[in-house]
Symmetry: C2
Subunit: 600 residues, 2 copies
């Protein structure tokens, strides 16, 4: 009846897969971001480099990087000036009653229950600067008492029952990549805390190529979803920056956004159905429909639920054919404003390609500073760059110019049309095509850059990102305002060197954009840099809200931003949220406490 | 900074507008569908015609219609065989305490409070066949005791307080076009029932052309939103079949779908923010963002809330530039299956135009039967049609062939590209271009066809529509199954003549479609045809669910379909819905009782 596309429904294979952590190339670090085989380090020549062979930059020296950091942050970063981490600084003893462990053993095998200290510590945090500083230099406080690895939904159900019977708290764990303190445990929690690591519930349960849907278990990690769906000739198209580690369940619970959302949509556009085990039973439906009007639809509350309402066990998602063509591109603009106005026009006049990202000048410089040795030293680059731009491009100022990177996906015809349109609009704003290679490099950098934060922390630099969404007309003033305010507050406090504040436009909508900030500083001499950082980040957040920005575009609220909720929503909204948490989970079994949803 | 588009924010004009009902061309009927100036009637020649001049068909005789109905339904429909309506059959006296009226008078002017019987009756129903039959032939039962017309949000708030103090129930009223018994009052309701008619809260509060957003009051009617936004050079693009009468608030409360959703999205894609007055206070936000991750987001529950959670007072919606080009198109296919496979391929290989609708053969015939006199009588048509198709189109069978109608909107380039793609795909499935005029006519018919139901009811024909959404691979079997089951059950009961069952594919998604059924029959001799209809509609619904269809694509649940909810969602989901209603509205002030959300 239909074209020759096979209708594949795989019977779920209920034999658990080998836990990813047991395969060497899959092993993740416990003390820093990412895979164990990758880390920043100093080379024998005293240059920064990335160890391992996983990424494009791996194994290459980056001789420009340290000098550039020194210049921008006005600080003395060098291999001899270290703040060596003392990971793990402190791991509290597990608080576990024998009866509860026995209850778990009734439905979990021994290798599904882990009380190892470092594993418990890892499950007690995500990737905020404060958490990462804590595990290396101070202490995290309360962490989970036990980590369990359910392998099927009935085990999750049994777990919830056991938690209710034995007065334990459950905190679902996906990839552990959140940056909102969402996994952090409350020091006042007296109950046993169970981290429910979903990594073994990672099966693609069915792929329906005729209707372009797939049912996937919630613990499936982005990189595995990508590779397994590729074997079926399809893609989900959802690629947040954390796609190597974050999970489907985590994406839903965080209301995540993917780099290629222009083509595939954000997570709420991609999910057709979701199954959840709550403290009051299973929230589930008989099937997934293309679109429905079935009254008040509680599934919608799972987007952004941050582990407070239950454990997402599986979801039905849309899938797409693998793109016929994937191409990169990049454009240079004289100023950030030029690039921004280009994006605005693009949103009006064209179908934007899968991804469009605009870096400000500082971030553009940052990208250049991460170019490997082979293209010449810093001095060479600087003169070359200046000469090239000043002479050839009639006045591009290397301290003002910016870069926009592009990913095109689709049929050959779609991509060619988008390319034609985009470069025409770019030219109108003084943009100059800078090639596919620079674009590709920009996107690949996303993955390796994530490792820098932990490296620099050992050399007295603390840094992190935060984001917002804002209408087009408020966006430029918001960027300026946040940068200005952070510099002012930093200077006013007499803090060391100069702060690093940079902005990137990472998503575009017809109504506005997502702005992504990086903020960092040199902390030598400060007793509690992580607290100073937090204070300044909160000031930046205040400025964002005053400038018409949202509390978050895709990071979420967690515990990091919960104090800001009364500034964005009415008392009734907050009270009702608490009520509906209480009605579903009166014992606060799902005790993560995000958004203040702690059962109180 | 931006291109020369003015940033318009109109200060809300708080002077109420002239109520629409006071303008003659805006007046709506109380006893039948639509505008007062339009109704089906018999001409002096004994042909069916539409009185008035509002629509393309208005004032024209439709000589083929009655003979066709007689043939298809095997019934004796003729001007002399009438079942004259006794509207209004029965209007209960209002149950109103003086103190409550006095409380209302403290914040409402006299012309904002209406106790007229027919007005109250009209506010006690939507447009299910059962309701319309009741107001004309039996009785509706309990209806609102008073209708109020708030003109600003503070009046809505005062109304809720008054209802709480005086133990009254509130039922929000938009356009009164629902087909789910959503407005119907419970006979057991002992409290005063207040219908809150939102028609005077109809202002476009602001239009932001730079960020392409508008804030609009919830009582604004579709046709007014279209015309007012057009003055600003933009459109919301949301056009449900009821767009002449339904309101923004009603669209959100019903989770509505628009004809042109391929281009503009459904209502949940269009609304960026919503303000709601609940029994527990105002649910509102500080601003609308392009996209957010702000935790559990209660605004999402307003989609499909059907008046049970509060009164939606305004919303921020996306707007779009007026399309450079709007063109219609149509294609004929040998069979429904051919047309359906064309749509499937279109969803895979192309960007579908704003609207694509596929009628089955009976509906295609229905459209031909509504052609006005000028093109010749039925006999002439039949032979012409047969001759034309048999000879010129090599075997198209007039009793099998179907039509697909198309609306293209966009830039000239977009529309040309879509046309090129669509006709190429259509040709592959034996499709033959049938011209823009037939397409345009198909869409225009949507508005005048709506008047037929009430006309035919007076001639012993009862008919109505219901819909579902379903995956591509289940859709054809679902259509066949519903038709077969209805015919079987109809025959088994020995009911008069033959039932009329026809299906249309009205929306396409990558994962499936919306199927829209019309079902009707000749009821002379049946004591309770409306009950027979309901029984058969429920059987059809059962068949739909068994075939993998959803409970509703866009009509909603209301009271008509609430008994089916346990078949599509788990007990936990239903219980939690009731809990969250109770926590927001413990007194059940919003007492419409839809979806079983009655505070119990």
């Amino acid at each position: 009846m239909f074209a020759n596309v096979p209708f594949v429904i795989r019977t779920p294979d209920l034999t658990p897969k080998t836990p990813p952590s047991e395969r060497p190339d899959e092993a993740e670090s416990l003390d820093v971001w990412g895979f164990r085989d990758t880390r920043f380090d100093f080379s024998e020549n005293g240059h920064v480099m990335i160890r391992g062979s996983r990424y494009e930059l791996s194994g290459k020296e980056l001789p420009r990087f340290l000098p550039w950091v020194r210049e921008v942050l006005e600080c003395d970063v060098n291999p001899g000036n270290t703040n060596p981490p003392s990971y793990p600084t402190s791991i509290p003893e597990p608080c576990l009653k024998a009866e509860f462990v026995e209850a778990l053993q009734e439905f979990l095998r021994p290798n599904q229950i882990d009380m190892n200290g470092e594993v418990r510590l890892r499950h007690g945090h995500g990737h905020t600067q404060e958490e990462m500083y804590a595990i290396k230099y101070t202490r995290l406080g309360r962490v989970p008492d036990v980590v369990v690895y359910p392998e099927a939904e009935d085990q999750v159900t049994a777990l919830v029952e056991a938690a209710k019977t034995h007065n334990a708290a459950l905190i679902p764990y996906g990839g552990g990549t959140n940056v909102t303190d969402a996994l952090r445990c409350d020091d006042r929690e007296r109950r046993t805390i169970v981290s429910v690591d979903m990594q073994r519930m990672n099966r693609i349960l069915s792929v329906d190529r005729q209707n372009m849907m797939a049912r996937i278990e919630a613990g499936a990690v982005g990189r595995h979803i990508m590779s397994e769906l590729k074997n079926h000739g399809v893609t989900m198209g959802h690629e947040p920056d954390s796609v190597e580690f974050s999970t489907l369940g985590g994406w839903i619970a965080t209301n995540a956004s993917g780099m290629k959302k222009n083509r595939y949509g954000n997570i709420e556009d991609l999910v057709l159905d979701v199954s959840v085990v709550t403290a009051a039973g299973k929230l589930e439906r008989t099937g997934a429909s293309p679109r429905e009007s079935i009254g008040v639809d509680l599934r919608r509350l799972m987007f952004g639920s941050e582990g407070t309402l239950g454990i997402i066990t599986s979801a039905v998602v849309k899938v797409f054919p693998l793109p016929e063509v994937q191409e990169y591109g990049s454009v240079l603009f004289p100023t950030f404003e030029d690039g921004f106005h280009f994006m605005y026009d693009l949103s009006r006049e064209s179908t934007p390609p899968a991804s469009v990202r605009l870096m400000d000048n500082l971030q553009f410089q940052f990208g250049l500073a991460l170019k490997p040795k082979s293209t010449g030293g810093l001095a060479a680059l600087k003169s070359k760059v200046e000469k090239f731009f000043v002479t050839k491009i009639k006045g591009f100022d290397p301290y003002k110019m910016v870069a926009c990177t592009l990913v095109f996906e689709g049929t050959r015809g779609e991509v060619e049309r988008q390319q034609r349109e985009i470069y025409t609009i770019a030219a109108r704003h003084g943009g100059m095509k800078a090639g596919a290679e620079n674009g590709r490099r920009g996107y690949q950098l996303t993955y390796s850059i994530a490792y820098i934060r932990d490296f620099l922390m050992s050399y007295y630099i603390i840094a992190e990102s935060f984001e917002t969404s804002v209408s087009w007309t408020n966006a430029l003033a918001l960027c300026d305002g946040v940068k200005r305010r952070l510099v002012e507050e930093y200077t006013r406090r007499g803090l060391p060197g100069k702060p690093f504040v940079t902005a990137r436009v990472t998503q575009m909508y017809r109504t506005g954009v997502c702005i992504y900030f990086y903020f960092g500083f040199y902390y030598k001499g400060l007793p509690n840099p992580q607290e100073v950082y937090l204070e300044l980040e909160n000031i930046a957040r205040d400025e964002i809200l005053k400038s018409g920005g949202s509390l978050s575009h895709h990071h979420g609220v967690g515990k990091l931003r919960r104090a800001f909720l009364p500034r964005i929503m009415s008392e009734t909204a907050i009270r009702w949220k608490k009520d509906l948490k209480r009605s579903l989970d009166p014992l606060n079994v799902f005790g993560a406490g995000n958004q203040g949803l702690d059962g109180s």
